[in-house]
Structure formats: C-alpha cells, structure tokens
C-alpha cells in the first residue's frame, strides 16, 4: 500500500516536473509510455534489452565464478592472500572507465572486450566478499568433518557451501547492481546495440523521450530480478539463521 503510494507520488512529481521543464528537458510520463510502446511494437526494445541482459548475465557469471575461486583461495591460504592482495588493491582503485577503455584498445571493439571489462570491474568486489567468507569458515566444523571422514562432496555441500552462501548472496546482490550499470557504459562507448547504445543515440539526438523509454524498462527488469530472484535467494540461504540466539 505504502509502496504503491510512493510510486504514485513519483509519477505525480514527474508530471509536475514535466510541465515546468517542458517536453525537451523532461517529457511527460504518458509521452514516454507511448514511445516505449512504439519501440516495443517494432521489436527494437526487446532486442536491445535482450542483448544487454545477455551481457549482464555473462559478465555476472564470469565475475562471480572467478571472484569466488580467487576469494576463497585468498581467504584460506596466507601465501595466496599475500600474493593477490596488491593486485586486488590495484583493481579496486582502478576506475571502471579506465578498464573499459584499456580493454577496447587492447582487445578491440568486440564482445570479449565488453564482457571482460565488465567482469574485471566486478571481480575484485566478489573477491573481497568471498575472501571474508572463507576467513570466517568455522575451523571446528572442518575438524568435525575430518574426524567423521565426510567425503569431499559432502564437505562442500553440507559444511562449506552453507557457510559461504550468505557471502555469495551478498556478492551477487551488490555485483548485479554494479554489473548492469557498467554494462551500459561499455555499450555506450563501444557497442552498436544494447540499452547503453540506445541511450547514446538518444543523447546525441537530445531525445529525452527515447532515452527514458529505454532506460526505464531496463531499470524495471533489473529491479524485478533483484526483488523476485536475488532477495528470495538470499533469504533462502540464510533461513536457518532466523530465530538463532
């Protein structure tokens, strides 16, 4: 109820803003919806949305997989941590834009560079979170599993995974929001399709209606993924903690 009211207030403010600023700077919600319907009808909206989501998915999976493996190794082994830490600090402090431009220059204006650059921006973040997860693993449970000779698969599934799951979920949640924002920049700079590309076109034409018609549904899809997929997953992996003393 309150959320609906909040959305209503948002659209009301938008409408008032549109009337004050004029259609060139801020088109009215109804105009944006009309344009959105046109783009959807032509199929262009779904094509560009689909391309961007594929890039988000590929970069996200790549970054989480690499970040989880490296983060786990750094959290469990001191030598790996000491070796990897300077690289981690460097990557954490390297601006996303620098990584993107370097990737395009070194690899070329292609999908490998685009997805690789996005993944490289997320990997250090995933490493930091999973490294904390690996550091917080309970050594007492490790010993218990060793004494009772748990097979490797049982240890991974029933001892390690549940301890790392909240960290993985946190990395996934923060990662998704980071990845989709960087994908738009990557597309804006060096791709000929995707939501970022369309936003670039709209910017060059100073077409605010087109810009919002592409930006809003994309934000909506990412919010839906966050609310209906990531958050329930996070709740599921942490449900055994509920009610814990």
């Amino acid at each position: 109820m309150w959320r609906l009211a909040s959305v209503g207030v948002f659209f009301a403010c938008w409408q008032i803003g549109a009337e004050i600023a004029g259609p060139r700077d801020l088109p009215a919600p109804i105009d944006v919806l009309r344009r959105l319907a046109q783009e959807a009808q032509s199929g262009a909206l779904f094509f560009h949305l689909g391309v961007t989501l594929l890039r988000v998915g590929a970069a996200f999976v790549l970054a989480m997989a690499i970040g989880a493996v490296i983060g786990f190794a750094m959290g469990r082994h001191r030598v790996a941590d000491r070796l990897g830490d300077p690289w981690l600090v460097l990557l954490l402090n390297l601006p996303a834009l620098v990584i993107i431009v370097l990737a395009y220059i070194w690899i070329g204006l292609n999908e490998v560079a685009a997805i690789g650059a996005v993944a490289l921006n997320k990997i250090p973040n995933a490493i930091v979170i999973l490294r904390e997860g690996a550091r917080s693993l309970d050594p007492q449970l490790d010993e218990m599993a060793a004494v009772f000779r748990f097979p490797v698969a049982t240890r991974l599934r029933h001892v390690l995974a549940p301890q790392l799951a909240p960290y993985f979920a946190a990395a996934a949640r923060s990662g998704l929001s980071l990845v989709w924002k960087i994908v738009l920049i990557v597309e804006l700079i060096g791709r000929s399709n995707g939501i970022g590309f369309k936003i670039n076109v709209a910017f060059q034409l100073f077409d605010m209606t087109l810009l919002l018609a592409y930006a809003l549904p994309f934000v909506g899809v990412m919010l839906a993924i966050e609310v209906f997929l990531v958050q329930p997953l996070e709740r599921k992996v942490s449900r055994w903690r509920r009610g814990a003393a």
């Binding site: 007492q140 010993e143 218990m144 009772f148 029933h158 549940p162």
Partner: protein
C-alpha cells in the same frame, strides 16, 4: 609426530607423547604437554583428569589426529573407526538433528537411527535445528552422531562441562549404557572427578601444565557396582595425585 598402526593384540590405543610445544606469535615456547604414556585395551574406558588448562584437550586432539605437531607416537589400529564428541557439540546449524547424525553415518538405517535417538531422549527433537536445543540436548545429538558411526574408539572431550548436575548424571548413565552395549574403547577427558570415577575402568591423572602423567589409578569394581565409599576413596586418591 608419529602415528603407528597396532597389530591384533589386546591394546586398542597406545599413547606415548614425549612433549607438545606451542610457539607463540613472537616465537616463544609454551610447553603444553610433557611425557604422557598409557594404553587402553579393547572395550576399556579411560578417563584423563587434571587441573584446568593442564593440556587435557590438547592430549585428546593429538589422539584424534587433529594435532600432528608433537614429539612421540599415537598407535591405534588402522581399521578402527574413530568418533569424537567435542566439548562444543559442533553440529551443523543448518541441518536438523536427524540430518546431523545421518551425514556422519550415511549408511544408518531408519530404524537404527530412530532407536538411537530414542535411547538418548531425542525422539521428539529429530526435526529440531541445533539453535532450538539446549546444550545438554545438543551434546546428546553429538553423542548420537558419534555412536551412529559404530566407533571402535570413542573420544569424549569434557562432555559434562557447563551442564547442571542432573543433566550431567543422566548423560553419564547414557554413556555407560551405550559404551557397555557395544564394547567401545573410550577415552574421556574431564574435570568432573565423580563422572570419571563412575565411567572409567582406569583414571589417568595429569599434573599441572606442562602436563605429565602423575598417576594411573585402576578402578576394579564394575560400573554402577561401585559403592559410595569406594567411589569416595578413588576420588580421594585422584585428588592427592594431582
């Protein structure tokens, strides 16, 4: 460190520790254990007692194979199945009671599991998660997990610590029943002299840290057959040896 394999003789466990040293953060030596040597025959229950912090748990960890940095040797049969009841129950918090037992003993049948849980008074808690259990119940789950693997050698680390007298007494009785029914060689580490005397065939008394074996006191009477006077006499002997 030296882990040896015993042959088919009567001894089920031989402990022969020369020393155990911890190195501090700045390299300083902390002697945890001195010379400790004893043996347990098949089905024998040994209790290790000693002052707080003398190194009892360190000794148990060495016997369990969890600490390999020591001078000396631990000998037990290669084929022996080992189970440990840790001082902290060390249950998987995301698994219920039944799953915690089943994960350690995947081959256990439904009937055997139900009977084991019932014996330990856990029948109505089988679907409870560890956070829903009291410490006494959690220790029983840890004991059920240990018994479910059909151990030849059972190690118990302070199983009665932090329990009220009645709960601790019940747990002693249950351990006596389980160990006697299955002929399990058992090493118990405890500061509870009364429980040690009730449970053990032989009590090993450790000195102050670094612990050395100060005395070996055999208890000849059968468990539960010990008169209060005899128990008090053994307890007195243990106290004077410490």
């Amino acid at each position: 460190m030296n882990a040896k394999s015993l042959g088919g003789g009567a001894a089920r466990l031989e402990v022969s520790i020369k020393s155990k040293v911890y190195l501090g953060a700045s390299g300083e030596r902390h002697d945890a254990l001195g010379e400790v040597a004893f043996a347990l025959d098949e089905g024998e229950v040994g209790a290790v007692v000693g002052p707080s912090g003398c190194g009892k748990t360190t000794l148990l960890r060495i016997v369990a194979g969890l600490d390999a940095r020591f001078e000396g040797a631990i000998s037990r049969r290669q084929t022996d199945r080992l189970a440990v009841v840790f001082q902290e129950p060390r249950l998987l918090p995301w698994r219920d009671v039944e799953d915690n037992v089943r994960l350690a003993a995947p081959g256990i049948g439904d009937e055997e599991l139900a009977a084991l849980l019932a014996t330990l008074g856990l029948g109505e808690h089988r679907r409870h998660f560890p956070r829903e259990l009291s410490l006494g119940l959690a220790r029983r789950v840890a004991l059920a997990r240990a018994m479910a693997v059909h151990p030849d050698l059972l190690l118990l680390d302070e199983p009665f610590a932090s329990l009220d007298a009645a709960t601790a007494s019940d747990l002693v009785e249950q351990i006596i029943d389980l160990v006697a029914a299955r002929v399990i060689t058992t090493l118990l580490v405890t500061h509870d002299l009364e429980a040690a005397v009730r449970l053990a065939d032989v009590v090993f008394v450790l000195s102050e840290r670094p612990a050395r074996l100060a005395a070996r006191i055999a208890i000849s009477s059968p468990r539960r057959g010990l008169t209060p006077e005899a128990a008090a006499d053994v307890t007195r002997k243990i106290r004077s040896a410490q």
